[in-house]
Amino acid sequence: MVIQLMDHIFEKYSVRKPENLIPLLQEIQREKGCLTDEIIEKVSVFLNIPTNKIYGVATFYDQFRFRVRGQYHIQVCRGTSCYLCSSSYYLKEIEKVLKVKSGSVSRDRKFSLEIVSCMGGCSHSPVIRINDTFYSNIRPGEIAGIIKALKEKTV
């Protein structure tokens, strides 16, 4: 099923060159949410690259993931500027409220938490992003409220 749905992506990369590996994986991930063993095998056959090489590439870069994100994906910036504005404090706060460690997904698959290196919003640090909404210049105590509100929100 998964494989059939990917055909239209493969069609775009008719030139089966190794340099298409990263763009191909990026596009598949965008569509599927994450990479799976099945996808890697399929890509391996398509580009004629051994699967171990593909795993090598996919695990090297931060962007590729092998687990689906939660419904609310929380990104905590850890750039220098945010670090100085104690972003690690907010990270701990979020971990405490959600009971989720950074880099993992909550049990109900509603939240996932990630530390990102720099979002480029250094002038408004600390910056936390939840899906497409940015929260900047946050004060202590504020973030727990935001997340609790999301937690209670039913879809």
Binding site: P18, I22, T80, S81, L84, S117, M119, G120, C122, H124
Partner: protein, 649 residues
């Protein structure tokens, strides 16, 4: 969007503006140009900066409020989205221009302020606050008692060439860029000069790479031009991953066509028909801005086959990176584009001789390329007249951290650090004392206050052991702990080390271990264990030297810089951490010792209930006490105390 004379705008801009060498226009043309540039407007125009920094500050909400207001009150108005003008800390930025009046610039316009602001402007009165300044223009009525925007302290010391259009034009409109002199240099280049002449002009201008290395750009191009190859490549490096630097993002978001023009000229100069822009994948907005700009340039015939009838063809592709700091290094970037792990390779051969797919490749930074159209337009001697003896031109810096204002600005090379910090950035926030300035990202150094008069050029910085890097400044005040910051950078680099060479992979890990040992709390350990923990400290400097001398690429070679420079200038702070087990700044949480002030404590019992370690004792309505040996320094009691009875030393 351009008003009634939108028809034939492309032909007009190409035939009458770009192809006009003299730059002197007849009256009809110049009138039409002022309208396209929106220097004179017939309907009210409202500009809003919607770059990434603006969006983070809430510009989208402001935009929605503006749309609502306009629809209800002045439906004929035009709303233009611009990039950021650099004054990031005071976003959302809104500009308003009424017919016959000068353009006014405002800052900190959050959604709730929109209605009041627009109401008062449309009634031709403005409140004093939130006004940045006005853009004066001959023939337009000025607003009384408002300074010109160039007089604002943030803009006063700047000399904007690369950022000339930033915050003024719409990044989504190629017409805006052409009307302000864009793509003229490309036209001149491809029709008048052979490729080697362009290399020569850029060499004469003494432009040096802005990505950190400072290699002469003209020489790099010439090398690639002279190397035989079937297909040559130009790569624009926009993989800006230094935490704390956002110069490339700013340039792309506010004036993307300047970059596209620079790339086109550079490709022509080295004989490349393929150019690639490697953009950091987290940069969603720049990615979409660039895609749109390339489409427009293609439509206008500035990219593709037979550009301006010269026979020169060029395709530009945008490739999002996959998120690896090391890919900012040119050989690693090339490896990543070839579809493998981004591991750096040893040089030589340099990419200019053997790069992408083994072909001659030039890798240039965004800012370097954005300088090129200006050099071609005004000539190399103009460019050389700005800056110092060895560093020519202007440089864009971004400033963040604990300064009063943060954002990005462009100054001539050779301006002193103190002017940038005290005048432009407005000094340190909350009138705290300046401790150091971190320049050049994780592989940069800390500059102590005594070196504040250092001139910002490649050589002067080298003299004090610093490097310009991308140009990201981070202001540190007295509440920042240098040991903790060194640990932060080491952690970052350790994480991002690609693992190819041992000095970097193992060395950074070892250094991180040592730094972590310094800031960890001495729990119940014997003196022998403590000794073991600190064994590495004496080796820190030696280790750093070995890593610097033996690593393969710039990431490893520069990895010890933050630690070495902090050790050099702030040795007492390291010693205080090691010998006294104390962090004066309070950033190293483990080393904090909390004490309850007996006179202030009313025994409310909150801290005792919250303490996870049961380290606080005391009965209700009696002053409490913290047992030092149990306290982990988490600071929860400090946060929950409503009577400011708890302090740390």
């Amino acid at each position: 969007m351009q008003g009634p004379d939108n028809t034939g705008i492309r032909e007009f801009l190409i035939e009458k503006v770009i192809k006009n060498y003299s730059g002197i226009f007849d009256q009809q043309t110049s009138e039409r140009l002022t309208r396209i540039r929106r220097e004179k407007v017939t309907v009210p125009v409202i500009y809003i900066a919607t770059g990434t920094c603006g969006v983070i500050a809430g510009a989208l909400q402001t935009l929605a409020a503006i749309r609502k207001f306009v629809l209800e009150n002045k439906p004929e108005s035009e709303i233009v989205e611009t990039g950021c003008n650099g004054f990031c800390s005071n976003e959302p930025l809104v500009d308003v221009q009424l017919p016959g009046k000068t353009r006014l610039s405002f800052h900190n316009i959050t959604a709730d302020k929109v209605e009041d602001l627009l109401n008062s402007i449309f009634h031709h009165s403005i409140q004093g606050e939130n006004v940045t300044g006005q853009y004066r223009f001959p023939g337009l009525e000025e607003w009384p008692n408002i300074r010109a925007i160039e007089q604002h302290p943030w803009f006063l010391h700047q000399r904007r060439h690369i950022l000339k259009n930033a915050g003024i034009i719409s990044p989504f409109s190629i017409e805006d860029y052409i009307a302000r002199g864009g793509y003229k240099s490309l036209y001149k280049t491809v029709l008048n000069y052979p490729a080697d002449k362009i290399c020569e002009i850029v060499d004469q201008s003494e432009l040096r790479g802005r990505g950190g290395g400072g290699f002469p750009t003209g020489k790099k191009w010439k090398l690639a031009l002279d190397t035989a190859g079937d297909r040559k490549y130009l790569i624009c490096n926009a993989d800006e991953s230094d935490p704390g630097a956002f110069i490339d993002r700013a340039i792309i978001e506010s004036d993307p066509h300047r970059l596209i023009e620079g790339i086109a000229i550079a490709s022509y100069a080295i004989g490349a028909n393929n150019a690639i822009i490697y953009v950091r994948s987290d940069y969603e907005k720049p990615l979409s801005v660039l895609e749109n700009a390339i489409l427009q340039a293609k439509e206008f015939g500035f990219l593709g086959e037979n550009i301006f009838g010269s026979g020169f063809k060029l395709t530009i592709r945008v490739k999002p990176g996959a998120g690896a700091f090391v890919c900012g290094e040119e050989t690693a970037l090339i490896a990543s584009l070839e579809g493998s792990r981004g591991l750096p390779a040893s040089k030589p051969p340099y990419p200019a001789e053997k790069g992408l797919f083994g072909e001659p490749t030039v890798v240039n930074n965004v800012e370097t390329l954005a300088n090129v159209p200006g050099i071609l337009e005004n000539g190399p001697s103009w460019f050389k007249s700005i800056g110092t003896k060895t560093s020519k031109g202007t440089k864009v810096f971004s400033v963040s951290g604990r300064s009063a204002h943060t954002g990005f600005f462009e100054v001539p090379m050779g301006i002193s650090l103190s002017v940038m910090i005290n005048q432009i950035a407005g000094g340190v926030k909350n009138e705290k004392a300046l401790k150091a300035v971190q320049l050049g990202g994780p592989s940069g150094v800390c500059i102590p206050p005594k070196d504040m008069e250092t001139l910002m050029d490649f050589e002067s910085l080298e003299e004090i052991g610093a490097r310009m890097g991308m140009g990201g400044l981070i202001i540190l005040d007295e509440t920042c702990c240098m040991v903790n910051l060194s640990k932060y950078y080491m952690e970052f680099l350790q994480n991002e080390s690609c693992g190819k060479c041992i000095p970097c992979r193992e060395g950074t890990r070892k250094m991180l271990d040592i730094l972590e040992a310094i800031i960890r709390r001495p729990k119940e350990e014997t003196s022998h264990e403590t000794l073991e923990r600190f064994k590495g400290v004496v080796q820190l400097e030696n280790l750093a030297r070995v890593i610097r001398d033996t690593s393969l690429c710039g990431l490893g070679q520069n990895a010890p810089n933050p630690v070495l420079s902090s050790l050099k200038w702030f040795r007492e702070e390291f010693e205080e951490h090691i010998f006294d087990r104390r962090c004066a700044a309070g950033m190293c949480h483990d080393l904090r010792t909390f004490i309850i002030e007996v006179d202030m404590c009313n025994g409310c019992n909150v801290c005792q209930k919250k303490c996870p370690e049961n380290a606080i004792i005391g009965s209700v309505k009696m002053p409490h006490f913290i047992i030092e040996s149990r306290c982990t320094g988490c600071g929860i009691c400090f946060d929950v105390c409503k009577f400011s009875a708890i302090y740390f030393k």
